[in-house]
Symmetry: D2
Subunit: 327 residues, 4 copies
């Protein structure tokens, strides 16, 4: 099959306090608030011309509803429903109007148990790219990728590449040449989604793209000025893998956001995936820094597409090491 | 028809002195030299994993041989030959080995008289993205786009969008709503190629992508230190159109190179092209600066794909104004 | 004599509309507003721990009241009064409370007819250096220097160096080895004050120091976003002289402000002043750009310390050329 | 007494391998090599107009010969000799020609047992500030400060402020209001020298000033590219104290160098020293990061001015805590 999936385009997840979330995402990170109610807040980056890339839902506890991919047009949705049904995967239609700003959407459970979502239509919104007087904090430009811990990375990679048409840009191999982690893309950047070996499925982080390295440094300063210093979990640093200049921050509910800049164009079909040995010290942090324990161990639960209950976790197939390869 | 063209990927043009060119492109701008002979020099950007994106040929006088587009695979070349023949356009095969580092290539004359080239294969080369100790000058990362002056912009846009599958990201319209200039892309950036109303066909410039704004500022300083201050023609500045942070420089033969950073993702099929009025002062230079006369008037001749003689120029269809919309 | 003058520390000048000035200085340039009334607005930079470095007074028309220098302590003021009286220069005491935030001040007319002011005491104010969430626009850090057009540069230099204890860091010499312009300092930067040959005395600009080059680029973007593109007069660029990365902007009344970053330490007594030939093209603009006519011709009137009437202008001693050496 | 000390201006210390040192300091950090022999290497920053600010001597093992301060003129040296002799401190004259590039110098032992040196004259050298094509790595501009661990901080502060005329810009106080660490300056930056409570006297690091934050980020990338990732000890980060954007690196012999940018002007006599509580988490690292153990525990030995033997260490007066206040 051949699905025309454009890119990862939105994430829907819970926060327990929308006011606290607004201060963090809008004032400290620099998202634009498209729309807010007592139930949710829709956020977009400065260059995004659509309703949102991050939808925060008010809830009792954190949890991730779905990772959303934009497809070329509505006809792709039917093809995807058919595909998931053949695979025996559960699916669910969310008709237009069910979600703020989003057209008809297909939810499905992927091979790792992750709730994914496909949609073709989203309301447009003013692009604020050239409203520089609105730039704040990290000046978040757009959603770039999601990163998930899954028990079976090789199974996930096969599913996304052979079935859904993703391509691998970089990967980490164990000494036995097993794929320990992989970065997969539809749009020609290093990734739309990454998988790494670990207890899962869990969402490790959502990555947003920044226009330049100094915006990341400024974000650290702004966060510290606002009292969010202890929400800076890791970085700034450079990943060997992907070459990204990165910063990992935690929102008031512990959801992890990566601020990200510095990867490269992966458009060419003959681009050979970059292989990293799990023992290469520069893979994870080019500059040699260690990541804190929280970064290795903590990740967010996914919620079942029908019941909303947390998806059960499985232990990873490969022996656990510090998954120090995430970007 | 439906061609799988990936991106603009290489330009072949003349210089009169390869030593002078090397000092300019390698020492001042920061290109990596893949290979040089007495006849040519092949240059690539720091993130490029292929033989070259700029091939400079030693010749008596300047001139542009072809604008080269990478396609998905060899089968696209046959389809493109067929298409151009149906259109009555001349084509020419350059078998593998004819050009340094490049596989079999199809040359053809586009609707504006521009020599274009399609190829699927290029030798690989070491990607120097993480060899930061090699970074010099502007730290050129990769080819981004070409910009051409043509007599009939609307004809060119129709040809590239309806026949070759390009999409328009931004355009400038006259008071009579004629398309004065347009930016077209295959890869999801603002452009692979731009056309603007003017005596042509001529190549206005080749644009290369930089990783960050400070590299552009540093390049100005390095150029001035090396005695190339009078080779800085325009900028640094911000284009309203495309949002690019730009610098235009002229090589020792007058070939114009744009150093470019700051555009945005154009992957979505429902992205609406941005329309600029020709009278909007922020379109050309967001900060309000004027461009010098040379920038409006000077451009490089294309060479016939068979004879190598300069392609004859035609006057533009639309009344001439300062084409102050180029990015 | 030996005066302990610390640095240029404040400028008092007129604007015709305090609301328009606030939008420009606070929202676009990023000054902190210490205090405002219907009569004046006191502004300081982010790192300044004192009441203001720029005092804008509401008036019918523009005009500059005084260039203010901070001295070590009150005893210097008496010494300076004595000195100016011996020189036959007019002086005027402004007792504490006369000016907002400033202690007792001595006004005097310098050798060029410029109203200068000396004071030892200013109210303290919160330093906002680490309130990064307040950073806006150019993120102005502190006052750096003033630049004046005077008819007799050599006379001014002699007065400031031999009488007031300033030192020359850089200067421009004509072909006949006359001093065409000079940069003088008390604090160990390139200058607190510069003089250049021209009809005068007039204030050419007040320079404020920025912490980094990207703040200057961001200021251009913010100004353009806010509709101030036509208030960007010159730059961004690099001065050969002083090595400053500069931007010249005009406030709503035409007062010229320089945003400035990149000079060097001049603390050493054996530092030899850098001499530039008036014919060296890199002196003015290291990158080779030309400055606009307005920048050469327009400057602000000084006001008499007693009458408040504009100080009469004199023609320059040296034949007029474009004073393309200002930083 | 009243000594006209200009600034900290040079450090002389040992390395065991001059070739290894050259690769590190010149190629990775971007120092300019003024002169090298088999015995020593003299290094200067890009803006320095003098022979060196760092003199590396070939030796069997590391060790610091002296921290060198530039004084106004030769007459200060005699005054200083007299002062130290009155204090009962040992002194030693190094006549002109004894040290490369340096005029007559007075060595003395300060109150903490640190070998200090005073000199008025140094050979001039070409300033490379505007030779941007020579910029490499961190693009080190100039020496900024030295930082020492001493057993009695309050004694050191009294000696430097009351006897030598330094001023305190910032300091850390314990809960009992004892001075735990202090930053002292002669030139109007945050410091020329800092003292912190610890086993000593030892040299913790030498700080060099960079022109902008991006040079520091680039240095991390260059160091990693060259295989020096494990020589990056701490940072990049922001100190609350001094506001510096910092990076600590270790040379091949373990000597610690700080790359530093972002402090502020301290020229005003009424500037009130900034007091930090030892319990304020933002004091040390504004962004909340922890420093590694090595950074707390390791520092370099000073060598006796006469015997060259390592100066004996004393335990600190104040109870040891992690000295997490160093900048
Ligand atoms: Ca920067
Ligand atoms: Fe990531
Ligand atoms: Fe362009
Ligand atoms: Fe200036
Ligand atoms: Fe330090």
């Amino acid at each position: 099959m051949d699905f025309n999936i454009i890119r990862v385009a939105r994430v829907t997840m819970n926060v327990t306090d929308l006011h606290a979330a607004k201060d963090f995402y809008v004032n400290a990170l620099g998202f634009i608030e498209t729309e807010s109610t007592s139930e949710y807040m829709a956020l977009r980056g400065l260059e995004e011309h659509v309703h949102h890339s991050l939808l925060l839902r008010k809830a009792e506890k954190p949890g991730v509803h779905a990772l959303g991919y934009k497809v070329w047009d509505e006809s792709e949705l039917e093809k995807l429903e058919h595909f998931f049904q053949i695979k025996g995967a559960r699916t669910l239609w969310l008709e237009k109007g069910t979600q703020p700003g989003v057209g008809r959407a297909l939810r499905a459970v992927d091979v790792s148990g992750i709730p994914v979502e496909f949609f073709a239509e989203m309301d447009s919104a003013e692009r604020c790219l050239q409203k520089y007087d609105l730039y704040r904090g990290a000046r978040v430009q757009r959603i770039d990728h999601v990163n998930c811990m899954v028990p079976d990375v090789e199974g996930a990679v096969t599913f996304y590449t052979e079935q859904l048409g993703f391509r691998v840009s970089e990967y980490t191999a164990t000494e036995e040449d097993r794929t320990w982690a992989a970065w997969l893309h539809r749009k020609p950047t290093v990734h739309d989604v990454a998988f790494m070996n670990g207890e899962g499925p869990r969402l490790h982080h959502v990555g947003f793209w920044l226009s330049d390295p100094m915006s990341l440094i400024h974000c650290c300063d702004v966060m510290a000025s606002m009292g969010y210093a202890d929400h800076i979990e890791r970085g700034p640093g450079r990943h060997g893998l992907s070459n990204a200049f990165f910063l990992y921050v935690r929102d008031p509910d512990g959801n992890r956001i990566e601020l990200y800049n510095g990867d490269y164009l992966t458009s060419d079909p003959d681009f050979k995936p970059v292989k990293w040995s799990i023992n290469d010290p520069r893979r994870q942090t080019f500059w040699g820094h260690k990541a804190p324990e929280s970064w290795f161990n903590e990740a967010a639960a996914f919620l079942d597409i029908e019941t909303g209950i947390e998806v059960a976790l499985k232990q990873p197939l490969l022996a656990q090491r510090k998954p120090d390869f995430v970007t």
